[in-house]
Chain length 477, copies 2
């Protein structure tokens, strides 16, 4: 093949892949000659060939452009929103690969523009998105540049102070010197686990558990042991004690407040008891407290960290559920493991983006975070009631539900015979998603459970979708 043909073929392929879109200008002949290291003549030859193929057109005085017709003819078919498209095959779940199942659920929500009962994320329209972005913009205006070195781990000092301040105001005094800023709670959990345990170790988790816990364990080559968890009281402390007596446990990962998926708030006495049990065996506790601000009660609940006297609790949280998810600001309070977590943060992702850190700090200092949260809590509390009432109405006898005390998810036990993976697929074909119970365990115990997200505004469409879901369940019973 001649050189100009090769170049023309590369360009054709790039248009086919959507790299160059319809109407976009491609490189000038001079630029292309320089960048590809070929002569002007070769480029002219290649572009002439592309013109004759109908891929580009030359416009006087302005250069070569991708033709609309060419892009349409060559480009991959754009995904059709929702209904008209056949659902992707859902993963067969005999052998559970939890992270694959979760990622595929998330993708199908996106691809199908479906009713997002299956989403793990809160409705972003409730977030003060524009306000926070105004702070981001103000930072750019007042700073001529930004030196990465200023926000290296542990993170931006003012953000750290604002986080400590919020804890102090919520009755949980913390040392700002303990805080390490991370990329969301996901990274905080990963780093915390890596700081306290090594590949091959066994980690105790709730059952069902929030799948990000299982992901962290999977990613780090550790093993999970699931401990029975009560829908109102949290992890069964006696059962955990038995597990500890039987085998070496490197860490315990729990979500004492508004656990995802169960929604419970572990009573204070049991939190204290859990911290005591783990401390007696010198077992670190990784506490995922991402829903801390989304309580339905009077005030922010206590945390395991509150009762920690030995520095064994690694407390992880973020603003992703309460302020903005797309800024990815999380943090860890790693107790005695602080130095390790800080170093691991440095090794893992160097630092968290600066503008989001400072914008959140400015918002916290100057804006109406409390007012915003009061509104969100009220909305979630109301929508929890609505969804609970409607599941009761639309779903068959034998359906049972959690009683969320915060957060935005409902855990639904369907009649035994219903396979939630089949339900997931049948619902997806109708552009409705659910969270299959199997995402929350490596065992097969929750095959007839689903998790439903009630953070989205309640509409006639949502109600119709829930009704459809109820009918599908009835058909499967």
């Amino acid at each position: 093949m001649k050189l100009y043909e090769k170049l023309a073929d590369e360009m054709t392929e790039a248009v086919r892949r959507g790299v160059f879109a319809a109407g976009e200008r491609i490189l000038s002949v001079r630029q292309a000659s320089q960048q590809h290291g070929v002569s002007i003549k070769t480029v002219l030859h290649a572009y002439a060939l592309l013109e004759s193929r109908g891929i580009v057109e030359s416009r006087p005085q302005s250069g070569y452009f991708v033709r609309d017709a060419a892009a349409r003819a060559l480009a991959p078919a754009a995904p059709q929103p929702g209904r008209s498209r056949a659902p992707q095959a859902a993963p067969v779940a005999a052998e559970v690969d939890v992270s694959r199942l979760v990622l595929s659920t998330l993708r199908s929500i996106r691809a199908h523009d479906a009713v997002p009962f299956g989403s793990p994320y809160p409705d972003p329209s409730l977030f003060p998105w524009r306000r926070i972005n105004q702070y981001a913009n103000a930072i750019a205006r007042r700073q001529a540049s930004w030196n990465l070195i200023d926000d290296l781990p542990p993170g931006n000092p003012e953000l750290i102070r604002q986080i400590a301040r919020r804890y102090a105001e919520n009755g949980m005094p913390v040392d700002p010197g303990e805080i390490v800023i991370t990329l969301g709670a996901t990274e905080a959990i990963n780093l915390s686990l890596q700081a306290v345990a090594k590949p091959g170790d066994t980690v105790a988790v709730e059952s069902p558990t929030y799948y990000a816990m299982l992901h962290a364990i999977e990613r780090l080559g550790m093993r999970a042991i699931e401990v029975a968890t009560h829908p109102q009281d949290g992890i069964d402390i006696e059962a955990l004690a038995q597990v500890i007596a039987r085998q070496k446990i490197a860490a315990c990962m729990v979500m004492p407040n508004f656990q995802n998926p169960l929604g419970f708030q572990m009573p204070d006495a049991r939190k204290r008891q859990l911290v005591g049990l783990l401390a007696a065996h010198e077992i670190p506790a990784i506490e995922n407290d991402v829903y801390q601000e989304l309580y339905f009660g009077e005030a922010r609940p206590s945390t395991l960290k509150t009762y920690d006297t030995k520095g064994l609790v690694l407390h992880c949280a973020s603003f992703s559920k309460s302020l903005t998810a797309s800024y990815r600001i999380g943090w860890a309070l790693p107790g005695r493991y602080r130095a390790q977590v800080e170093k691991l943060k440095f090794l893992n992702t160097l630092t968290t983006p600066s503008v989001p850190q400072v914008a959140v700090a400015d918002y916290l200092r100057q804006d109406g975070y409390d007012r915003h949260l009061r509104h969100v809590r009220k909305v979630y509390r109301q929508q929890a009631s609505i969804m609970t009432a409607l599941v009761q109405r639309f779903f068959p006898v034998g359906t049972r539900m959690s009683t969320p005390q915060g957060g935005y998810v409902l855990w639904v036990e369907l009649p035994d015979s219903v396979d939630s993976m089949r339900l997931y697929q049948a619902a997806l074909a109708r552009s409705i998603t659910v969270g299959p119970g199997m995402m929350f365990s490596t065992r097969n115990d929750f095959r007839h459970f689903i998790r439903l997200n009630y953070s989205y505004p309640w509409t006639a469409q949502t109600e119709a979708a829930l009704k459809t879901l109820g009918e599908l369940v009835k058909q499967m019973t």
Copy 2:
């Protein structure tokens, strides 16, 4: 202790730790009562005690505020910029803990406001910071909210397309479907390594090597084997072949373009040879190409990826050296390991912040990236010449230097007798930083080497600092 005393003590401690700053309002009595779960009377008691201690003052109609004097008296001393402060003890480097040494070097640059010859980062003032932030601001204006689910791995589709487009324009056609967006190249390298090797495996690296490579290996519990690397030709392919013949190598991590610290551009023929050698043994190559756009020659150099026919090259890069470091936008082209890298990204940090992704995409599509880069390349090329000339003038006989062909660092071999850790400490006491050679190896071969950053504008102060450095070296000879 009474309840109100406990509350007052907590508040005093929070002011001491700087959680509440001078002049800031603390919670209202009603709010504090609710948040701390105590009676109004208890809060009133506590606040009265705080007033009597001089910690807070009440202002009519507006609430309680932290007194300036209290904050000054109690708060930890603010770090003094630079000169007046005794340097932190640098780590003793008998046993090299590379990541600790790097982190402490970075910290001292920040803490001392020192001349940043030791910085690994480019001068941020050359970045089009305001322009990029304007795009970020425009995104916030045109979007009412942002759904996290839209940018899940592999990342924002338009950013991916723009990256693919840039490669195509630079004569390296890539499939956009291969790209995975990460949090800087740091995460791309970590995920790539984790995708191809497991704890205990041995990974071949250049010697000296960019320390982030050693960090990734350290973090994942693998072992590094260093292969002699030529200051102009790159890794010694014959030496690598011998290593491969002797033992099992799980991966090879290299930086063929403008290697940090050596600055070489590996010749095309040797790149091809390296890819061939590794392919013959089915060994994945992790290619760190973060300086790809900072070439001093005519056009962007080729990459290992260019010669990869088996999908064994995991190509990693970012915008941190060429556009903005604080946005943390990196990516991987992981070849046949794409699915694993995408999944690991999801498990590690869920997703990269949305606004930075879209802002960079918008900048690339609409703004003068090429013009910006031409300017940066010119500045770096000039400053490389200046620093080279001045090191020749100020440093003693026996000093040798690299000849950077791109990037912004100079690698300097000092006379044998000079210990760069001692030089680092002596320079720090004069508010000058250098990159000690020991950061770039787990062996002791580079104890008399330093890395100097020439990205900052050349001033009388910089020149004086370089002169001082030369004198320190002379004293140590």
